[in-house]
Symmetry: C2
Subunit: 353 residues, 2 copies
DNA sequence: ATGAAAGCGCTAACAC
DNA sequence: GTGTTAGCGCTTTCAT
């Protein structure tokens, strides 16, 4: 008699002993693949006993065998979980899609923030080498995050979402921010705006660079006066400070193009303080399309967060299944949101674009 | 020579063989607890070799030994991830706090939706019996979710957040929705409103029942006319339909009390359509306090989502650590938000409450 | 300080 | 069909 049969622990040996069977038979009866090699009568007895003793195979033992954890991690920059508030709105969309996609297949996803502690402990290496996660989703990672190189060097399946897209070892799924912003700024110009303020996005993020490039490209197509705010960023405060700087520099601007909805909200707040009416006296555009009931819906474009998550999950799944060996890249279109913060300065009823 | 030393796999045997040591010594050198029993020189050699061969202990093997996974699951109702949109705003706040609290201690959290597939496969039992997760957080679970009873019967550490609070085997952390709504409705009455419409919350959720009870209790304190919408719910559409029904029934109402901010936004949208100005002609109150800069500044109260997450994580941690054996209950206060959608009908400059 | 060997819970190749 | 046995990767007791 083995020690594990004496004490209260329920394990495969306990079930086998209770039925005077070998552990191998029990193991087979419980395995979908080999269940048919066990006689129907035995199998029923075994399942009944498992039920009675509330036995289910230890998942960690299974995982050492399969050399697979059926777990993936969604790694996000620390600042996403930094404040005492909710997680980033777009991340939230991605997360919903990821959970839905994976749980269907019995794979679960952990949300992991890349903190300084994470980096010190080199958790990403432990995750790979210790077989903790089978694959990784990265959200909003920039080239500055040097751990990504180390992660890629371990060559696990990795899909980057709204971030790094030029790493040869990593698949990527990104919103087509360039086209989204290009169309938006063209619309601004088509509405007759010729004195335009810009509060740029941070150049540190891929999406930011794309948006900035699109703004420059679109504005170069039509002669106009353009003022750039001395600050860039993605938050409301950047919008407020940016607006003060722009308006101090040139109070004849008719439209402010912002890097996202939070920045646009900052402009809106500051404009309100000064009694400037939007869009009557000033137009403002955003980006991302936060889905809250707001007073004035921002003209901008919608980031396809849910679709990004779905696509990334599918891509990772295919790499986990071994269907695809080489990293893939994917670009997902954004959706223009007409909103109500862009005034048409021409005499046409609708924009001409 | 063992087979595992022939092929490319790096495991503890490989490290031991490379240094002509026993696996026991390597194991000790890598264990924080026993590292001191290995000579400094050996330990250094071992660590170097691990580094060189990129070895880290297989986490799943460790877990079978420790009988602990250092993993927890956050279980949420299916409908939270149902649409093609982001996850619930309040859940998002909880999730951020939970991740932060646990990752500090090397514990990671998986988000798991309780779908019909989950229930069919009885995943909650596998999670417990298979030692997949050490503990569970439930978010927004009602008594209708019968799997919770089964989960509790396995007696793992469980903390319910914004949900079931009367299960003797389960700890709970809830926002004090009753007090929050009670004070809000008293404020409405103190502002002189006596003809009041109510769009109730769903009775299926704990928070919903608390809010409804508070509304009834507060309204019973002062004689007034009260109309209830024939629908209850938590979304914008409920607000729109509820408002149409209320206004069709009685167009002399001066204030509509809504079950949350989404419902209030629905009322606001519908009022806008009819040219009814808020709060000049009609007051509206919400609850939850969605945090976006240009949202309608609803009079209502803020749900302490982040604090709920922190408290729940701490409670679960204490149960995991064995510091506490018995389930605890905790109530966290809400914060009144003055907003700008409640008109003071009295002649006082401020409310009298 | 180190190694041999038994053990964790489970699977799978090989007998019969 | 079923049992025996070796094995997965790692820990830990008991020697020396």
């Amino acid at each position: 008699m083995n020690s594990s049969e004496k004490n209260g622990r329920v394990n495969i040996r306990r079930i086998a002993a209770a039925l005077q069977l070998s552990t191998a038979t029990v193991s087979r009866a419980l395995s979908p693949e080999y269940a048919h090699t066990v006689s129907e009568k035995q199998r029923r007895r075994i399942l009944e006993m498992c039920d009675r003793l509330q036995y289910m195979p230890n998942i960690n033992a299974l995982r050492t065998f399969r050399n697979r954890s059926d777990l993936v991690a969604l790694l996000v920059p620390e600042q996403c979980l930094n404040g005492n508030g909710p997680i980033d709105y777009n991340l939230s969309g991605v997360l919903g899609a990821v959970e839905r996609s994976f749980s269907r297949r019995g794979i679960y996803c952990s949300l992991v923030a890349v903190t300084s502690q994470f980096l010190e402990k080199r958790e990403h290496l432990r995750f790979c080498r210790g077989k903790m996660f089978d694959g990784f989703l990265l959200w909003g990672m920039t080239e500055r995050e040097t751990f990504v190189e180390e992660l890629a060097a371990e060559s696990p399946p990795v899909v980057s979402i709204q971030g790094i897209r030029n790493n040869p070892g990593i698949s990527s799924v990104n919103a087509d921010d360039y086209s989204g912003m290009l169309h938006l700024v063209r619309r601004v110009l088509a509405c007759g705006h010729r004195r335009i303020g810009v509060i740029p996005a941070l150049e540190t993020s891929q999406a930011g660079r794309e948006r900035n490039r699109a703004v420059r490209d679109a504005l170069a197509e039509t002669p106009c006066v353009v003022r750039f705010a001395p600050w860039s960023g993605f938050d409301t405060q950047t919008g407020q400070r940016g607006f003060r700087a722009l308006i101090g520099q040139d109070d004849s601007l008719s439209c402010i193009i912002c890097s996202n909805d939070y920045v646009a909200a900052g402009v809106w707040l500051e404009a309100q303080n000064r009694g400037i009416e939007i869009p009557e006296q000033l137009s403002v555009t955003g980006a991302d399309g936060l889905d809250f009931p707001v007073r004035i819906p921002l003209t901008g474009y919608l980031s396809p967060s849910f679709e990004l998550g779905l696509a990334a999950a599918q891509m990772l799944q295919e790499r986990l299944d071994g269907k695809i060996d080489t990293p893939q890249q994917k670009l997902i279109p954004t959706t223009f949101l007409p909103g109500a913060t862009l005034k048409d300065l021409t005499n046409h009823t609708t924009g001409t674009l």
